[in-house]
């Protein structure tokens, strides 16, 4: 009797089947948002109708500090914006200031900058892949990636003394020369690392559960990607070969041979989370090629160009961009003839990539939202500056 009454009630409810929209908060402290990011979700059951990101929880007033310091004193602040790839932040800033000064730098410096930049790209992609695996549910790749990353950080520490925030690449050169056994250590590490990458391939790239969780989710089509100005692995995962190292080469990137991996939709649709992850994995292999070519032809020389103690560029405006591991990092510097910059504006790649999230996360489950956010690979220090 009770069973029949319960079944009747349940069936009548099921026929109507509509539910209200509930507002949920994935707050600033959450294990899966990569830092302090607040997402306001409007959900209908488990399906997401709308996502609104709220940022600004790590706004550290970089641009105001830059107006009060010398050109050299700004470099530690620039490091701390994208704290996972701080060599590349220094690189971008140094190139912008050298365009304003109009100086030439020694050959050895160019090679050292590219070697350090590409090692930093490998380290940053290892963190991205490791934490993406952790979000989706696998714990072992996280430990393997961090073990390999520690060896790269040991190389950096022997060169310049710091593990995470280096203050190494200055306008005009590099602060310390490479130590004598750097070439042997680097080549040994690369040989061992290529073997360890095969473990990662079995654990993540060809893993059926990982493919089920990420393929066909968060598809970003080409038109939307260009209209929203996506850059880095976001836009290359959708099939567009947009890489600043090939379009507008800076440094001496035009002397090296390397390919640009693009997503092709092998496992699901073109432009989904699996494509972006695979583009990052293939970029690690390309970076290894560039480092080996650069170490082969490393010339001798001094590592710093003679500059006066106070850098005073003439009046001018410059916008220079580099390809950081997350996308297009742009520095817009206005100088008014004194030794402090008048205005520095940073075009951060994660800031622009995060604005695509409301567009590609419509209609997916909450668990898929975590996978999409992990595949965009944001760093909140850059988003909020």
């Amino acid at each position: 009797m009770m069973n029949e009454a319960y079944n009747l009630e349940y069936k009548s409810l099921k026929k109507e089947g509509d539910s209200e929209i509930m507002i949920l908060n994935m707050g600033p402290q959450h294990p899966s948002t990569h830092g302090v990011l607040r997402l306001e979700l409007k959900v209908n059951g488990e399906i997401i109708e709308e996502v609104i990101p709220h940022i600004g929880y790590l706004h550290r007033c970089f641009e105001k500090h830059a107006e009060a310091c010398n050109y050299q004193q700004v470099i530690p602040y620039v490091d701390r914006m994208d704290y996972l790839s701080s060599m590349y932040n220094d690189f971008g800033y140094a190139i912008a200031v050298e365009k304003l000064l109009g100086i030439e730098i020694p050959e050895r410096v160019e090679y050292i900058r590219i070697i350090m930049g590409e090692f930093q790209r490998i380290a940053s992609h290892l963190v991205a892949i490791g934490t993406f695996g952790l979000d989706v549910g696998s714990f072992t790749p996280f430990l393997y990636c961090f073990r390999d990353r520690e060896k790269i950080l040991t190389l950096f520490e022997k060169t310049c003394g710091a593990r995470l925030l280096y203050n190494y690449i200055w306008p005009g050169g590099v602060s310390h020369d490479l130590y004598p056994e750097f070439k042997n250590d680097a080549l040994n590490f690369l040989k061992e690392f290529k073997r360890n990458l095969k473990d990662l391939e079995i654990l993540l790239v060809e893993n059926k559960i990982f493919i089920e969780r990420t393929a066909g989710i968060g598809v970003l089509s080409e038109n939307i990607a260009i209209n929203y100005a996506a850059s880095g692995p976001m836009i290359r995962g959708s099939g567009i070969p947009y890489d600043i190292r090939k379009i507008e080469p800076y440094g001496i990137y035009d002397r090296f041979e390397f390919n640009i991996p693009v997503g092709e939709g092998i496992m699901g649709k073109k432009g989904d989370c699996w494509d972006r992850f695979y583009v990052r994995y293939l970029e690690i292999l390309e970076s290894i090629k560039i480092i080996e070519q650069a170490l082969d032809s490393l010339p001798d020389g001094n590592v710093f160009e003679k500059l006066p103690k106070k850098i005073k560029p003439k009046k001018g405006i410059v916008y220079s961009r580099v390809e950081s591991p997350r996308g297009e990092l742009g520095f817009f510097i206005i100088s008014d003839g004194s030794d402090k910059p008048f205005r520095i504006k940073v075009r951060a790649p994660s800031f622009v990539n995060l604005s695509i999230l409301p567009e590609i996360a419509k209609g997916c489950f909450i668990a898929d939202l975590v996978a999409i956010l992990g595949s965009i690979d944001i760093v909140l220090g850059e988003v909020d500056r």
């Binding site: 940022i55 600004g56 706004h59 007033c61 641009e63 105001k64 365009k99 304003l100 000064l101 109009g102 939307i224 260009i226 209209n227 929203y228 100005a229 567009i240 947009y242 379009i247 560029p313 003439k314 009046k315 001018g316 405006i317 410059v318 916008y319 961009r321 297009e328 742009g330 817009f332 206005i334 205005r343 504006k345 075009r347 800031f351 622009v352 604005s355 909020d384 500056r385």
Partner: protein, 175 residues
């Protein structure tokens, strides 16, 4: 195409509009327009098949600080008059050329038409320009603060005459 050729094309297309190129001793050159014709120029450079600028890289806001410097009652420096500037940096993925466009608005009442219907990436850049410098974008659907807290009422932080307030919601700010 170089910037000179793009500038000539625009000058031939719009004959009555004041538009000129500016360049300093070092650095890059850019095209200067006034704010009332800004929307027409932006539409033209996006839709013209020879130009086809479909990638908006960055919108930057600058405080020119070229007005008079006065002192108010407490002895703090205030700037009256003068301009605020906006710089648009664009790139074309099909033709592989880039350009920079500058406008200047009044400091007392800054207002510019929005570019969100042309490029969606302008959405968050314009919100940040409003938050940091106070420039209003007419036609923007959601012009709120983005980096500062929503109830921050102590001014616009990146202006040159911004004074750090003492307290925010019972939290002491200075060191």
């Amino acid at each position: 195409m170089t910037i000179k050729e793009i500038f000539d094309l625009l000058k031939n297309r719009f004959e009555n509009i004041k538009i000129y190129i500016e360049k300093f001793e070092v650095g890059e050159e850019y095209i200067v327009v006034s704010p009332d014709v800004l929307k027409q120029i932006l539409q033209e450079i996006r839709n013209n098949p020879r130009l086809h600028f479909d990638y908006l890289m960055c919108i930057s806001s600058v405080d020119d600080a070229n007005g008079e410097i006065k002192k108010d009652e407490n002895g703090n420096k205030i700037i009256k008059g003068g301009t605020l500037s906006l710089y648009y940096h664009l790139y074309s993925t099909t033709r592989n050329h880039k350009i920079a466009i500058k406008t200047s608005v009044d400091r007392e009442n800054p207002a510019v038409p929005t570019a969100i219907d042309l490029w969606k990436s302008a959405d968050w850049h314009e919100r940040e320009a409003f938050d940091m410098m106070g420039i209003k974008f007419e036609g923007h659907p959601n012009l709120k603060r983005i980096l500062m807290p929503y109830d921050w009422n102590a001014g616009f932080p990146l202006r040159k005459d911004f004074i750090t307030p003492e307290y925010y919601n019972d939290l002491k700010i200075p060191y």
